[in-house]
Amino acid sequence: MNKPERLFNISRFKKMKLKNQAVSLDALDWQILQAIQENSKQTYSEVGRQLGVAHSTVYDRIRKLEKNGVIKKWTVDIDLEKLGLNYMTARMTVYTDPKESENVAKKLSEAKEVLEVSMSLSEELLIIAKVLARDQDSLHSFIAKKVAPLQGVLRIRTSIITKKIKEERFLIEKK
């Protein structure tokens, strides 16, 4: 059995089952993920050549990874500044009544101005959100009119991002 055939082993797909909500992947799956995370524009053949497997193997593995939700979506990272769209970003920390925190997080998630919503429990229950706005007035107006009035919001701290030093997604490593 040559290398591509050896790696294209249907039985391995069976290992991709939910185990404590984590999908179990084999070495080839990890290698494919790493390759497409570095450059998702590569063709199946190009990925296959890198990894020494047939393009059909890459195709099948990727389909399976999509089906299992490991690959959530295919997208593109656009530089808004190059398009003259100078938005500002802010990190908003919302202190909430614990009884209302889920609802506050849900409402924030529905707002188009909010790009990310996370929850944290330190001394108090916090909701941390990444907010995009055209300018400081728009940012303040959104927070004053849409966030502060939400039931359970106790106070809000906002930091406007003035300089981004690094922004990367987590890159998986070969297993």
Partner: protein, 109 residues
Amino acid sequence: MTPSSSARILRALSRNNAFYFFTSVGNYTGQRAMSLEEFAHKIREVEAASLEFHLYRGDFEKWADEVLEDRELSERISAVKLLEPVGNALRDQLDFAVSKRLEELKSAQ
């Protein structure tokens, strides 16, 4: 001023129409006023930085005019702004203007 117009200005407001006190862009103190009467109390309680932030952005005048629908109060707050007070001097002048207007409205009911 008619009793009904005074009552309208003094009415309890919804959460969406309340005044929310911030100290700077996006930094909400947790203090809010859901009526003119509550607003008068909060002016004495909130940090002076919050009063400065809102006065010089024109937020108080706008809220008085557009939400409470009290043009007179809005103009009196504008007059306070022209004096450019800061800190507790601002608090005192704002407190005087709002409390006086509150008394007038209550007595007109």
